[in-house]
Structure formats: structure tokens, C-alpha cells
């Protein structure tokens, strides 16, 4: 499984739409096996979503994300953990430990529930974030 995290220095980038770098982490049996960092060159949203898909990401752990980009990423079949903030290593460890929902990593303004306008299938299986 491949986890993608937009990063800024040692922190999770605050907005995926505007992020410049992406950390890709390969995980097998709950353990990190490989990691790489790539530059996100285009701010063109469809291209950003397609790039994520082409990189083989299965999971996106990110900060804020616009509805438009979230819809595009979700329709690629990628699981999204949005509105996450904090130190990248702490966030990654928390994800690997299955504790991604810990409130200390949630951005201010986060509300539990599902994003408006997304289908039931996504609500329970794909969107792991809060209500828009």
C-alpha cells in the first residue's frame, strides 16, 4: 500500500491544493518499507488528482482540501484522510498504528460526519474525514 502525504518541511502541508511536495511511503504489513519525495509541479487540480493516481497512491493523508479536488481524488478510488495537521513522522506513525482519528491531528474547524454531496459508498468507505 502506498500512502501519500503533502509535506512542508517536517509538517503536513496545510492545503493539498497549494502544496509543493509530496511524501510517498510504501507500507507492507503495517511497516514502512520505502519512502520518496516528489515535487508537485502543477496547481491545475485535475492534473494534481491524476498525478496522485499515476503515482499509485492508495491513501492520501492531507491538510485542508477543496471540494473540487476531493471529488476528483475520491473518484480515482483513493482513500482520503483530510484536515490533518502536525509533524509528518507523528502523523505517519499514528496512521500506521491505526489511530488517524486522534483529535490532536485534526485541523481547527473539523466536524465529524461526511462531506456534502458525496455518495453513500464514499461516505462509508472512501472519505475518512469530516463534514464540509
Amino acid at each position: 500500500m502506498k500512502i501519500a502525504i503533502p509535506v512542508y518541511g517536517e509538517y503536513v502541508s496545510n492545503v493539498f491544493d497549494f502544496a509543493h511536495k509530496l511524501l510517498l511511503v510504501d507500507v507492507e504489513n503495517g511497516k514502512e518499507t520505502n519512502r520518496s519525495e516528489i515535487v508537485l509541479e502543477s496547481k491545475f487540480l485535475p492534473q494534481r488528482a491524476v498525478q496522485l493516481k499515476n503515482l499509485g497512491a492508495d491513501v492520501l493523508v492531507c491538510g485542508a482540501i477543496s471540494q473540487e479536488l476531493a471529488n476528483m481524488v475520491l473518484s480515482s478510488g483513493i482513500i482520503v484522510f483530510p484536515f490533518i495537521t502536525g509533524n509528518v513522522e507523528n502523523v505517519l506513525n499514528s496512521y500506521l498504528a491505526g489511530q488517524m482519528v486522534k483529535s490532536e491531528f485534526r485541523m481547527p474547524g473539523y466536524r465529524s460526519g461526511a462531506p456534502r454531496g458525496l455518495g453513500r459508498q464514499r461516505r462509508c468507505c472512501r472519505w475518512q474525514g469530516g463534514r464540509y
Partner: protein
């Protein structure tokens, strides 16, 4: 002034205001800031400002950091943010140092106002839409998005085919904005809207005295687009004589001004579009074969809206937000019946028609929810005939049955395609068919 008086003033203004300490943590957050960001004061206080404001400059050039470094205030910088609902907003921010009573710097203060409506109106007036305005989550469109950057970088002549209202100009702009020519002009010419003689002088320009009333030199659209991109819409409508001249531009990168004596060089990328099948026009002898092959180096075929119905809900949401700004209304959504009717309709005018339907609803809707009665009569019969035959209101179950049956019928029983059009997973479609006792239509 007392602190309480300052607070009253801060809470009463519509501009957003927040202050940060020297560690970039928010120390005060007024009501205007709550409204613009969608984040409550109690959630914002003590948090890093970048997690609250979520702006495009937080990582690439924070204005507050610059003010803290230089001591100089910054006024009205245009910035984009993502609010708590995931909506992109345009804001204008100003920054200043925050000092205590002894003049010691204790942090920074940022004030900002929402300029989304102004930006939207500016866009409406100028007719300037960008690639960010392309909205889609359909698989067909995603395939196009994959190749779009490569096309943009290639600098080759591109042909965009698609029915009227499918967004050909938006794609042309996207190609321009993604290319190295993005800082140069993007010039649009609707070839179908100009008579033959006028089109030639419009495209290539003319010299003074070339014809009656040509009192001074006039640059053509090719000259105006120098270094950038020219978008020739409705290319299938141009006459054979203009076709010959265009062929020369494509072959030699030169053209002649009407009445001119020496050829002009053209460093312009040409993107053409048509709602006709050019290959058929070539067979009929109405379009030059050599020109067709010149403009058809790269081809983008835009799907009609009826083939990407999964995009209808997000497009409706987009148009509601847009018309709310334009008409100063506060409409929030559409009813399930309206969604069903919109999904059942075939949209011969494509996205432009959907946009017009929503605008029609905005004129008639006085409340906050668009209902079936607000829809134009061209859309209503689909629902009336197939779902709500009696005066009984349609239930969600009835609507689901009708939609699934229509999708299956449209796709000749192909469940994979039907599921894609409905925007649901194939397994969900199977489950719903079983639960609602829907059988596959006979082919």
C-alpha cells in the same frame, strides 16, 4: 481605548481580523474572520495561523512573516484560501506589526476581506474563465486531464471536437495556461460569427488603403496573439479561401496583411475547435484535406454531458454557488426530485444548457430550495412522464427505480456503463437492482 471597546469594534466589522503571537499562534479572532474562514473563535485561538487561514501563500510567501521581518505593513494582497467547508475563496489581506503599550512587538495582525464575489463578477464581465473552472470527476474527463499537460507542453496545433456547450474554450484556455505561452495573450476568434471577407481582415489585419474605409493600419488577431495562443472556434465554418490562408500560416508560419506587400511572421500556437465532424466535411469536399491534417496533429474529443452524468450534481452545486453570488440569493440546494429530473434529461445543449436551467430556477425560486415547479417545462416532462404520473409525490424509491431503468435502457443493459453514468459502484447497482426488483431490459 479600553480593551472592551476595542473588542466591540472588532466584532462589529465585516472584515476578518486576527492577531498572532511570536510563535504564529492565534491570540484573537473576530466574528468577520469566523464568517470568512468558517472556523469558530474558540477553535482558532491557540492554533497556528496557517492551519486556520489555509492560504496559498502560507508556504510560499507569508505576508505576515514578511511584515514581521521588515516591519513594513502590506496592503491588499490577493490570496486564495480554502474555508472550513472546502470552498475556495478569494480574499485580500493586509498585515501589520502588533505592539504592546510600550511599543514592543508582541506579534502580528492580519485583516482580510472576502473578494470572491468581486472576482466572480470580474470573471463574468471579462468572460475570462480558467482551467480551474473545469469541473469533473468523470472517468472520461480524467483521461483527458491525463494527456492535457503533455499537449500543453508540446506546442503543437490542437483540434478540440465536441458538441456545443461542452467546454471547448475552457479546454483551450487550460492548454494555454499550462503551456510556456501562459504569460502571453490568449486570443479567441469565433470563425462562425464573422462573414468571410471580414474574417480574413480580422485574422490577418489590413494596411491603410486596402479597401474603402481602411484609413489606417489595423493589426489582425494573429498579430494580437503574437507569442501566445490563438483559439479558432467553429473552424468547420470557414470558407475555402480562408482555409488556404490558414494553411499557409500553419506551413510557413507567415501570413499577409490584407493590402500588404511583405509577409508577416507569426509565432502563435493555433488551437481550433468545432462541433462538426471535420473528417466528414473533408469527405464532402467542404474542408481541405491538407488543412485538416495540419490542424489535427493532436485531437481532444470532449464528451457530451449525457455521457458524464455523474458530474451533474457537482455542476449543479457549482452553478448554485455562482448564481447565488450573481443574483445575491441564498439558495442552498435542489430537492431529490429535481436531481432525478436533471439526471434523466439528455442535455442537447450540454453544460451551457444545464447552466441555463439552473439560472431559470433562480429566477423563479423565492425560497432556499429549488423544487420541480421551478424547472423549465423542457426538463419537467421527463420526470412527470416516467416518475410522477399521478398527483402523488414521487418517493426516493420510485426515483431510484426510474433512474436505474433509464440508465440501463440508455446503455442497452450494460451495467458497468450504467453504474458509471449514475455515479455509483457496479456492486451498488447490482445490490439496488436486486433490492428494488429491477430486471435487465430486453435488448
Amino acid at each position: 481605548m479600553e480593551n472592551t471597546e476595542q473588542n466591540v469594534i472588532l466584532q462589529s466589522i465585516s472584515e476578518g481580523v486576527f492577531t498572532v503571537d511570536l510563535d504564529w499562534r492565534i491570540t484573537s479572532f473576530n466574528r468577520g474572520a469566523e464568517e470568512i474562514t468558517g472556523i469558530r473563535q474558540q477553535d482558532a485561538i491557540g492554533k497556528y495561523c496557517r492551519d486556520v487561514l489555509r492560504a496559498d501563500i502560507c508556504e510560499s510567501g507569508c505576508t505576515l512573516a514578511e511584515t514581521m521581518r521588515t516591519g513594513k505593513p502590506i496592503m491588499n494582497k490577493a490570496v486564495q484560501i480554502i474555508d472550513a467547508k472546502g470552498k475556495r475563496k478569494a480574499i485580500a489581506i493586509s498585515t501589520a506589526l502588533f505592539k504592546d503599550s510600550r511599543g514592543k512587538v508582541i506579534g502580528g495582525v492580519e485583516t482580510f476581506r472576502d473578494t470572491s464575489a468581486i472576482e466572480q463578477l470580474r470573471k463574468e464581465i471579462a468572460g475570462r474563465y480558467s482551467c480551474e473552472d473545469i469541473i469533473s470527476q468523470s472517468h472520461i474527463m480524467q483521461n483527458l486531464f491525463t494527456i492535457l499537460p503533455n499537449i500543453a507542453e508540446s506546442n503543437t496545433t490542437t483540434l478540440i471536437e465536441g458538441e456545443s456547450g461542452t467546454g471547448k474554450e475552457l479546454f483551450a484556455r487550460a492548454i494555454h495556461n499550462l503551456s510556456f505561452r501562459k504569460d502571453k495573450p490568449f486570443v479567441v476568434v469565433n470563425c462562425g460569427a464573422l462573414p468571410d471577407t471580414l474574417l480574413e481582415s480580422e485574422l490577418f489585419g489590413y494596411k491603410a488603403g486596402a479597401f474603402t474605409d481602411a484609413k489606417k493600419d489595423k493589426p489582425g488577431r494573429f498579430a494580437l496573439a503574437e507569442g501566445g495562443t490563438i483559439f479558432l472556434d467553429e473552424i468547420g465554418d470557414i470558407s475555402v479561401s480562408v482555409q488556404v490562408k490558414l494553411l499557409r500560416v500553419l506551413q510557413d508560419k507567415t501570413y499577409d496583411l490584407v493590402g500588404g506587400i511583405s509577409p508577416m511572421r507569426a509565432d502563435v500556437r493555433i488551437i481550433t475547435a468545432t462541433n462538426k465532424k471535420l473528417d466528414e466535411l473533408v469527405k464532402e469536399g467542404k474542408f481541405r484535406e491538407d488543412l485538416y491534417y495540419r490542424i489535427n496533429v493532436m485531437k481532444l474529443e470532449l464528451p457530451p454531458l449525457r455521457d458524464r452524468k455523474e458530474d451533474i450534481p457537482i455542476l449543479v452545486e457549482h452553478f448554485i454557488a455562482r448564481f447565488n453570488r450573481l443574483h445575491n440569493k441564498n439558495i442552498c440546494c435542489v430537492t431529490n426530485e429535481v436531481t432525478a429530473a436533471l439526471l434523466s434529461y439528455d442535455y442537447p445543449g450540454n453544460i451551457r444548457e444545464l447552466e441555463n436551467i439552473i439560472e431559470h430556477c433562480f429566477v423563479l425560486c423565492e425560497g432556499e430550495i429549488i423544487e420541480v415547479k421551478h424547472l423549465p417545462s423542457s426538463v419537467c416532462p421527463v420526470l412527470k412522464n416516467e416518475i410522477a404520473q399521478n398527483s402523488e409525490p414521487a418517493t426516493i424509491k420510485q426515483v431510484e427505480i426510474a433512474l436505474i431503468q433509464q440508465a440501463l435502457k440508455r446503455n442497452k443493459g450494460n451495467k458497468t456503463t450504467a453504474a458509471k453514468q449514475l455515479g455509483i459502484d457496479k456492486s451498488t447497482l447490482y445490490r439496488k437492482m436486486k433490492a428494488l426488483d429491477i430486471s435487465k431490459p430486453e435488448s
